[in-house]
Symmetry: C2
Subunit: 127 residues, 2 copies
Protein backbone atom coordinates (compact mmCIF):
# COMPACT_ATOMS: atom_id res chain seq x y z
CA UNK A 1 0.00 0.00 0.00
CA UNK A 2 2.05 2.89 -1.23
CA UNK A 3 0.54 6.32 -0.75
CA UNK A 4 1.40 9.40 -2.73
CA UNK A 5 2.20 12.77 -1.22
CA UNK A 6 -1.37 14.06 -1.46
CA UNK A 7 -2.79 10.78 -0.28
CA UNK A 8 -0.69 10.96 2.86
CA UNK A 9 -2.10 14.37 3.65
CA UNK A 10 -5.61 13.03 3.39
CA UNK A 11 -4.91 9.85 5.30
CA UNK A 12 -3.25 11.82 8.07
CA UNK A 13 -6.49 13.70 8.52
CA UNK A 14 -8.54 10.51 8.57
CA UNK A 15 -6.27 8.93 11.16
CA UNK A 16 -6.43 11.97 13.35
CA UNK A 17 -10.16 12.48 12.99
CA UNK A 18 -11.29 8.88 13.05
CA UNK A 19 -13.84 9.64 10.40
CA UNK A 20 -14.60 12.69 8.34
CA UNK A 21 -16.60 13.93 5.41
CA UNK A 22 -14.93 15.41 2.35
CA UNK A 23 -15.83 18.81 3.73
CA UNK A 24 -14.17 18.02 7.05
CA UNK A 25 -11.01 16.93 5.31
CA UNK A 26 -11.03 20.03 3.19
CA UNK A 27 -11.39 22.22 6.25
CA UNK A 28 -8.62 20.38 8.05
CA UNK A 29 -6.27 20.99 5.13
CA UNK A 30 -7.10 24.60 4.45
CA UNK A 31 -3.99 26.69 4.85
CA UNK A 32 -1.83 23.71 4.12
CA UNK A 33 -3.06 23.05 0.61
CA UNK A 34 -5.72 25.40 -0.69
CA UNK A 35 -7.31 22.50 -2.56
CA UNK A 36 -10.72 22.73 -4.12
CA UNK A 37 -13.51 20.64 -2.66
CA UNK A 38 -13.57 18.34 -5.69
CA UNK A 39 -9.86 17.73 -5.42
CA UNK A 40 -10.33 16.33 -1.95
CA UNK A 41 -13.33 14.34 -3.09
CA UNK A 42 -11.35 12.82 -5.95
CA UNK A 43 -8.50 11.86 -3.66
CA UNK A 44 -10.90 10.28 -1.20
CA UNK A 45 -12.56 8.28 -3.95
CA UNK A 46 -9.20 7.07 -5.16
CA UNK A 47 -8.19 6.10 -1.65
CA UNK A 48 -11.35 4.04 -1.31
CA UNK A 49 -10.68 2.43 -4.68
CA UNK A 50 -7.21 1.43 -3.64
CA UNK A 51 -8.43 0.06 -0.33
CA UNK A 52 -6.79 2.59 1.96
CA UNK A 53 -10.05 4.11 3.19
CA UNK A 54 -13.68 3.17 3.41
CA UNK A 55 -16.76 5.17 2.64
CA UNK A 56 -20.14 5.13 4.32
CA UNK A 57 -23.08 7.24 3.32
CA UNK A 58 -24.68 9.06 6.20
CA UNK A 59 -27.70 11.13 5.23
CA UNK A 60 -26.90 12.78 1.96
CA UNK A 61 -23.15 12.83 2.37
CA UNK A 62 -20.33 10.31 2.46
CA UNK A 63 -18.19 9.87 5.53
CA UNK A 64 -14.74 8.42 5.21
CA UNK A 65 -12.48 6.60 7.58
CA UNK A 66 -9.09 4.96 7.30
CA UNK A 67 -9.09 1.30 6.43
CA UNK A 68 -5.36 0.70 6.64
CA UNK A 69 -3.83 1.35 10.02
CA UNK A 70 -1.48 4.24 10.35
CA UNK A 71 1.23 2.07 11.78
CA UNK A 72 0.95 -0.33 8.89
CA UNK A 73 1.20 2.46 6.36
CA UNK A 74 4.18 3.90 8.17
CA UNK A 75 5.93 0.56 8.28
CA UNK A 76 5.27 0.00 4.60
CA UNK A 77 6.60 3.42 3.73
CA UNK A 78 9.71 2.92 5.81
CA UNK A 79 10.28 -0.52 4.35
CA UNK A 80 10.01 0.90 0.85
CA UNK A 81 12.50 3.62 1.69
CA UNK A 82 14.96 1.21 3.22
CA UNK A 83 14.62 -1.03 0.20
CA UNK A 84 15.20 1.68 -2.37
CA UNK A 85 17.68 3.87 -0.68
CA UNK A 86 19.52 1.89 1.97
CA UNK A 87 20.32 -1.39 0.34
CA UNK A 88 17.31 -3.10 1.84
CA UNK A 89 18.72 -3.63 5.30
CA UNK A 90 17.59 -2.02 8.51
CA UNK A 91 21.17 -2.21 9.66
CA UNK A 92 22.37 0.04 6.88
CA UNK A 93 19.54 2.38 7.53
CA UNK A 94 20.09 2.60 11.25
CA UNK A 95 23.72 3.30 10.62
CA UNK A 96 22.90 6.19 8.35
CA UNK A 97 20.40 7.46 10.82
CA UNK A 98 22.69 7.95 13.74
CA UNK A 99 25.82 8.66 11.75
CA UNK A 100 24.34 11.33 9.53
CA UNK A 101 21.14 12.64 10.91
CA UNK A 102 22.37 14.68 13.86
CA UNK A 103 19.68 13.96 16.38
CA UNK A 104 19.44 16.61 19.00
CA UNK A 105 19.92 15.89 22.69
CA UNK A 106 16.24 15.48 23.32
CA UNK A 107 15.84 13.05 20.48
CA UNK A 108 18.86 11.11 21.60
CA UNK A 109 17.47 10.89 25.09
CA UNK A 110 14.13 9.65 23.81
CA UNK A 111 15.87 7.14 21.64
CA UNK A 112 17.94 5.99 24.59
CA UNK A 113 14.88 5.46 26.68
CA UNK A 114 13.14 3.53 23.95
CA UNK A 115 16.19 1.41 23.46
CA UNK A 116 16.31 0.65 27.14
CA UNK A 117 12.67 -0.36 27.08
CA UNK A 118 13.19 -2.52 24.05
CA UNK A 119 16.18 -4.08 25.71
CA UNK A 120 14.25 -4.87 28.85
CA UNK A 121 11.37 -6.28 26.88
CA UNK A 122 13.68 -8.43 24.81
CA UNK A 123 15.18 -9.77 28.01
CA UNK A 124 11.81 -10.88 29.35
CA UNK A 125 9.99 -14.04 28.38
CA UNK A 126 12.93 -16.25 29.18
CA UNK A 127 12.85 -16.47 33.00
Amino acid sequence: MQLSEAEWKIMNVLWRAGSASARDVLDALQGETGWAYTTVKTMLTRLVEKGAAREKTVGQAAVYSAKVQQKAAQRAALAALVERAFGGTMGGFVHHLVANEKLDAKERAALQKLLDDAQREAGEGAP
Copy 2:
Protein backbone atom coordinates in the same frame (compact mmCIF):
# COMPACT_ATOMS: atom_id res chain seq x y z
CA MET B 1 15.95 16.10 -5.35
CA GLN B 2 13.29 13.41 -5.16
CA LEU B 3 14.07 10.24 -7.05
CA SER B 4 11.52 7.76 -8.31
CA GLU B 5 11.73 4.03 -7.75
CA ALA B 6 13.44 3.34 -11.07
CA GLU B 7 15.75 6.29 -10.65
CA TRP B 8 16.94 4.95 -7.32
CA LYS B 9 17.87 1.69 -8.94
CA ILE B 10 19.97 3.47 -11.50
CA MET B 11 21.56 5.86 -9.03
CA ASN B 12 22.44 2.98 -6.74
CA VAL B 13 24.43 1.48 -9.58
CA LEU B 14 26.17 4.76 -10.31
CA TRP B 15 27.12 5.23 -6.67
CA ARG B 16 28.48 1.73 -6.43
CA ALA B 17 30.33 1.83 -9.72
CA GLY B 18 31.60 5.36 -9.61
CA SER B 19 30.91 5.72 -13.28
CA ALA B 20 29.24 3.52 -15.84
CA SER B 21 27.92 3.43 -19.37
CA ALA B 22 24.29 2.70 -20.09
CA ARG B 23 25.36 -0.82 -20.98
CA ASP B 24 27.13 -1.22 -17.65
CA VAL B 25 24.06 -0.09 -15.79
CA LEU B 26 21.90 -2.43 -17.81
CA ASP B 27 24.18 -5.34 -17.01
CA ALA B 28 24.25 -4.47 -13.36
CA LEU B 29 20.48 -4.51 -13.24
CA GLN B 30 19.85 -7.64 -15.25
CA GLY B 31 17.99 -10.12 -13.16
CA GLU B 32 16.61 -7.37 -11.01
CA THR B 33 14.67 -5.58 -13.69
CA GLY B 34 14.84 -7.09 -17.15
CA TRP B 35 14.76 -3.60 -18.63
CA ALA B 36 15.53 -2.93 -22.27
CA TYR B 37 18.64 -0.99 -23.11
CA THR B 38 16.65 2.06 -24.18
CA THR B 39 14.77 2.08 -20.92
CA VAL B 40 18.02 2.48 -19.04
CA LYS B 41 19.22 5.08 -21.50
CA THR B 42 16.05 7.08 -21.07
CA MET B 43 16.31 6.99 -17.31
CA LEU B 44 19.92 8.09 -17.44
CA THR B 45 19.07 10.98 -19.72
CA ARG B 46 16.29 12.04 -17.40
CA LEU B 47 18.61 11.83 -14.41
CA VAL B 48 21.08 14.09 -16.17
CA GLU B 49 18.28 16.51 -17.03
CA LYS B 50 17.19 16.71 -13.43
CA GLY B 51 20.73 17.22 -12.21
CA ALA B 52 21.18 13.95 -10.37
CA ALA B 53 23.84 12.57 -12.69
CA ARG B 54 26.33 13.84 -15.19
CA GLU B 55 27.25 12.58 -18.62
CA LYS B 56 30.57 12.53 -20.36
CA THR B 57 31.22 11.20 -23.81
CA VAL B 58 34.15 8.82 -24.02
CA GLY B 59 34.83 7.51 -27.50
CA GLN B 60 31.52 6.76 -29.09
CA ALA B 61 29.60 6.15 -25.90
CA ALA B 62 28.40 8.18 -22.95
CA VAL B 63 29.63 7.47 -19.46
CA TYR B 64 27.54 8.49 -16.49
CA SER B 65 28.35 9.26 -12.91
CA ALA B 66 26.37 10.46 -9.94
CA LYS B 67 26.27 14.17 -9.40
CA VAL B 68 24.30 14.21 -6.18
CA GLN B 69 25.94 12.46 -3.29
CA GLN B 70 24.37 9.30 -2.03
CA LYS B 71 24.21 10.60 1.49
CA ALA B 72 22.44 13.73 0.37
CA ALA B 73 19.88 11.76 -1.57
CA GLN B 74 19.32 9.48 1.37
CA ARG B 75 18.86 12.37 3.74
CA ALA B 76 16.42 14.03 1.39
CA ALA B 77 14.44 10.84 1.02
CA LEU B 78 14.32 10.30 4.75
CA ALA B 79 13.31 13.89 5.36
CA ALA B 80 10.48 13.54 2.86
CA LEU B 81 9.29 10.38 4.54
CA VAL B 82 9.38 11.91 7.99
CA GLU B 83 7.50 14.91 6.71
CA ARG B 84 4.74 12.96 5.05
CA ALA B 85 4.31 10.04 7.31
CA PHE B 86 5.59 10.94 10.76
CA GLY B 87 4.28 14.40 11.41
CA GLY B 88 7.47 16.05 10.30
CA THR B 89 9.46 15.39 13.44
CA MET B 90 12.45 13.14 13.81
CA GLY B 91 11.26 12.49 17.33
CA GLY B 92 8.05 10.92 16.15
CA PHE B 93 9.92 8.93 13.61
CA VAL B 94 12.53 7.63 16.00
CA HIS B 95 9.79 6.64 18.36
CA HIS B 96 8.09 4.61 15.67
CA LEU B 97 11.39 3.08 14.74
CA VAL B 98 12.16 1.63 18.12
CA ALA B 99 8.60 0.99 19.21
CA ASN B 100 7.30 -0.68 16.08
CA GLU B 101 10.09 -1.91 13.91
CA LYS B 102 11.28 -4.85 15.93
CA LEU B 103 14.95 -4.22 15.53
CA ASP B 104 17.02 -7.22 16.35
CA ALA B 105 19.60 -7.24 19.10
CA LYS B 106 22.39 -6.48 16.70
CA GLU B 107 20.63 -3.47 15.28
CA ARG B 108 19.78 -2.22 18.71
CA ALA B 109 23.38 -2.64 19.72
CA ALA B 110 24.55 -0.71 16.68
CA LEU B 111 22.09 2.00 17.44
CA GLN B 112 23.26 2.04 21.04
CA LYS B 113 26.88 2.31 20.06
CA LEU B 114 26.26 5.09 17.62
CA LEU B 115 24.16 6.81 20.18
CA ASP B 116 27.00 6.55 22.69
CA ASP B 117 29.38 8.03 20.17
CA ALA B 118 27.03 10.89 19.50
CA GLN B 119 26.65 11.41 23.22
CA ARG B 120 30.38 11.52 23.75
CA GLU B 121 30.85 13.90 20.85
CA ALA B 122 28.13 16.16 22.15
CA GLY B 123 29.71 16.12 25.58
CA GLU B 124 33.07 17.33 24.31
CA GLY B 125 33.95 20.93 23.70
CA ALA B 126 32.24 22.09 26.89
CA PRO B 127 34.64 21.00 29.68
